[in-house]
């Protein structure tokens, strides 16, 4: 009885010891030298592995930052103090941080915009595009099949069930730009995070044509250009273009817009 207990303890303990020793030896023998700086940088990165920086996850960006291949500001989800901390580790400039957010530049969804036909296929914008460039008469507009919603790694994009409007939750959006790449219509755009006023239309049709197919469309009237006290709006291809450097977010343009295509985010 006592023997078997002793033998068990000895064998199992012995096995454990042997394995421990072998592993310890292997850890030393097969050690791969890693630059400790990479780990330090990695700890400061957000760790969401979103891939928005163009590298395969945060580990890869940390490696690239350490070797001087990339700047830490490539990560749009970084905060200012963390960037300075990374600068301290690498001893180089980490680049300027400009926080961005995504906006969906179309408000002509649901009943507002006419459809060419009823689409019954796979619920995915890219699939929907295959048939006649999508089911909407306006080929610039959002179809609302939620490809961006699925692409967003931080669940910031939602489709409003009532209006069908695709909305970005600013508090969750990290500005990684994955949705920008996922949208087949190129409606999603990254803008500076503090920008309030934005044009929500991509249609370059003339006013009359636009009005016929979508009641939320910009009609290219140019009222916003005239209203802007800072001279930040210029018309191009029947659409206003906002110069974010000059825009003061005063909202004068939003008040006069007849279709509310330009408005606050």
């Amino acid at each position: 009885m006592f023997d078997s207990i002793l033998i068990s303890i000895l064998w199992l303990g012995g096995l454990g010891l042997i394995f421990g020793a072998v592993l310890a030896y292997a850890a030393k023998k097969f050690e791969v030298p890693v630059d400790p700086k990479i780990q330090q940088i990695r700890d400061l990165l957000p760790g969401a592995n979103c891939g928005g920086c163009g590298y395969a996850g945060c580990d890869d960006l940390a490696r690239a930052v350490n070797s001087g291949e990339a700047k830490a500001s490539a990560c749009s989800a970084m905060s200012g103090d963390k960037l300075t901390e990374i600068s301290k580790i690498t001893g180089t400039d980490s680049g300027d941080l400009q926080k961005k957010k995504a906006v969906v530049m179309c408000s002509g969804v649901g009943e507002l915009s006419k459809r060419k036909f009823k689409y019954h296929g796979i619920e995915n914008c890219r699939e929907a595009m295959i048939v006649m460039q999508g089911d909407k008469v306006c080929e610039f507009g959002c179809m609302g099949y939620g490809t961006c919603v699925k692409a967003c790694p931080s669940n910031a994009i939602k489709i409003d069930p009532k209006s069908g409007q695709v909305k970005v939750d600013e508090s969750k959006c990290t500005g990684c730009g994955i949705c920008e790449k996922a949208c087949p219509k190129k409606i999603i755009k990254l803008i500076p995070a503090d920008q309030k006023v934005q044009i929500f239309c991509k249609s370059i049709r003339k006013g009359k044509e636009s009005k016929e197919i979508c009641s939320a469309s910009c009609i290219g009237c140019g009222l916003c250009e005239k209203q802007c006290p800072a001279g930040a709006i210029k018309m191009a291809d029947n659409l206003p273009v906002i110069d974010f450097e000059k825009c003061t977010n005063c909202g004068a343009c939003t008040e006069k817009c007849p279709t509310k295509a330009i408005r606050k985010v």
Binding site: L15, F19, L23
Partner: protein, 190 residues
């Protein structure tokens, strides 16, 4: 011939996941994409084959010899865990690309019941050394097959109109059950 029978039996008739219900957690956990399913499958094939060989030696050279077979479970877990750790260390040094591919999955397997299952079944079926290794490899291939098939189905389901109440795991479990029934159809093949 016996080896061939072992292979067919392990891959199809007694498929680890769908018939014996071993290793269900990776079956549901890493089958959202075919890519990850293949990664996990490769890691499992690798570890199961090695584990069958090592646990065979441990069973007959130590446990049987010193009359302590009741330590089987705990000894096998210890051996498999140490083995996986060791393989990970070696791979990291010798083959970084393979390490990158298997990376996350290797530690996951350490406590996988399918790996422990194959070790214990080898002993229960009284296989000899070669049969054990072949059984281990074939069982892992069956495991991988089930994972990849299921991942393909789940990828298709992503874009299918599924009733709201069944979205996500419920429909995954239902399709797993249907797959399992299909695999049960292989019984009686040999």
């Amino acid at each position: 011939m016996r080896l061939l029978l072992i292979i067919v039996s392990a891959v199809l008739i007694n498929n680890f996941v769908l018939v014996q219900f071993l290793g269900i957690c990776p079956f549901l956990g890493v089958t959202k994409k075919v890519e990850t399913a293949i990664g996990m499958g490769a890691a499992v094939i690798f570890v199961m084959t090695l584990a069958s060989a090592i646990t065979y030696v441990v069973q007959y050279a130590i446990l049987e010899k010193f009359n302590i077979p009741f330590l089987q479970t705990i000894a096998f877990i210890l051996v498999i865990a140490a083995l996986v750790q060791f393989v990970e260390l070696v791979l990291k040094k010798t083959s970084p690309s393979l390490y990158q591919a298997l990376g996350v999955y290797l530690p996951l397997i350490t406590t996988n019941c399918a790996v422990l299952g194959v070790a214990i079944l080898n002993i229960n079926y009284h296989y000899n050394f070669i049969e054990s290794v072949v059984f281990g490899a074939a069982a892992a291939v069956g495991f991988t097959l089930a994972l990849i098939l299921f991942a393909c189905i789940r990828e298709r389901m992503e874009y299918s109109p599924i009733p709201k109440a069944l979205e996500g795991f419920p429909i995954a479990l239902i399709s797993a059950a249907l797959m399992s029934i299909a695999f049960m159809g292989f019984s009686g093949l040999i």
